[in-house]
């Protein structure tokens, strides 16, 4: 992004028009915990009053269909939604940032694993109003990703592609008015799953970047 400015015409025009905010780790407590204690930890590390179990699934804690199917009310569950929407500081701080900025045009979130490129909704199985455009943009991005190393991504709404899941981030951002809301599930499809070998980190980043770039170019060229 930085080094291509002034060299690549597309990146140059993108950054001349728009800012990119990159949040590299959205769950720092969980990230540390995977290094120190439990490699498979998914949730935040917040204490749950009245329970021995720790943590909330940050991607079930957003204010979108909160409390609905596809999230657990049990603090011991890996998909525990939390006591209330935005109860987790990791979620609330992003919501506050977006609301205070006031002009966010796209919201792209990276996860693993399964090689999926998804748009809303997860909390309900009905199509978003912008379904046709989001699907087309998603397919173009998946095509870009595939062009580098042949990695195939399946494109679709969260509900039809993986499962119904309430309280997810891109459902909130879309219903808040950010039309271009996409969630990526990166490599692989289960052979290593969460334990992707280090030699795949850079190739994953290179191919994912092509997909992100494709989406951002569309956002740049389609103001709303």
């Amino acid at each position: 992004i930085a080094s291509d400015y002034g060299k690549d015409p597309s990146i140059t025009s993108l950054l001349n028009k728009m800012d990119i905010f990159l949040l590299t780790v959205t769950n720092p407590d969980g990230y540390v915990f995977t290094h120190t204690t439990n490699r498979m930890w998914r949730k935040t590390r917040s204490k749950n009053p009245g329970s021995l179990c720790v943590g909330v699934d940050p991607n079930r804690n957003w204010d979108a269909g909160f409390g609905g199917p596809g999230a657990s009310s049990n603090p011991c569950s890996d998909s525990y939604r939390g006591p209330s929407a935005n109860s987790e500081v990791e979620v609330k701080s992003v919501v506050d940032f977006i609301k205070n900025h006031g002009n966010i045009r796209a919201f792209l979130t990276l996860h693993s694993y399964s090689q999926l490129l998804m748009y809303p909704y997860g909390y309900k199985c009905t199509e978003p109003a912008d379904y046709a455009e989001l699907d087309a943009v998603g397919k173009a991005a998946a095509s870009s990703i595939k062009s580098l190393y042949g990695t195939t991504f399946t494109v679709g709404s969260i509900c039809t592609t993986i499962y119904q899941a309430s309280g997810g981030s891109i459902d909130w951002s879309y219903d808040y008015g950010i039309k271009y809301s996409f969630a990526f599930e990166l490599r692989d499809t289960g052979r290593y799953g969460f334990l992707l070998p280090a030699n795949q980190i850079i190739p994953t980043a290179e191919e994912t970047w092509l997909g992100l770039k494709k989406i951002m170019e569309h956002v740049r060229d389609n103001p709303y």
Partner: protein, 174 residues
């Protein structure tokens, strides 16, 4: 949908050899999920069109290597936390994958999607017959609930007799 019985799926799929990406084989299958009783595994019938690769040589190499160990094999975290699997542990990993397939089948419903996430611990169990036996503690990742589920399984293997899970039990999470 089949009356009071359950729901049947016809599948056409392509099997890809994990160790040889060009080795693909077509397969058709029928899966019947039973109505009501979720404690019954789905019925599966399948036909493989063509042949699977012969692995006799690699099987025998692995078998002989384990039989000639001075002490019973013990290992942890396969893959390790950085996704590495040593060449010596690769057959142990593949064996767990095959065995976990059985456990996954026995515990699958239309609303589950299991993957083997990691072998936490494996210990060879000494036997007086010609089979190899391993006691595995694995982690299964269930995609719909996003749960990581510890599971213990006893696995028998022999080059000519294939894989058998003789005992398995879901473990508590904490």
């Amino acid at each position: 949908d089949i009356g009071d019985v359950g729901r049947k799926y016809h599948l056409e799929l392509v099997l890809e050899d994990v160790l040889d990406k060009d080795g693909t084989v077509n397969c058709t299958a029928e899966v019947l999920y039973h109505l009501g009783n979720k404690n019954t595994a789905p019925d599966v019938h399948f036909t493989i069109e063509g042949e699977l690769k012969n692995t006799d040589e690699a099987d025998n190499v692995f078998y002989n290597r384990i039989q000639s160990l001075e002490k019973e094999l013990v290992a942890e975290n396969i893959p390790d936390n950085h996704g590495n699997v040593s060449p010596e542990m690769e057959p142990i990993h593949l064996l767990a994958w095959a065995a976990s397939g059985y456990v996954i089948w026995q515990n699958s419903t239309e609303n589950t999607k299991f993957q083997l996430a990691q072998i936490k611990h494996v210990k060879q169990v000494k036997r007086s017959d010609e089979h190899l036996e391993f006691d595995y503690m694995i982690l299964l990742h269930e995609m719909v609930s996003q749960e990581i589920i510890p599971w213990q399984m006893r696995v028998l293997w022999h080059p000519q007799h294939g894989v058998q899970v003789t005992q398995d039990s879901r473990q508590p999470k904490h």
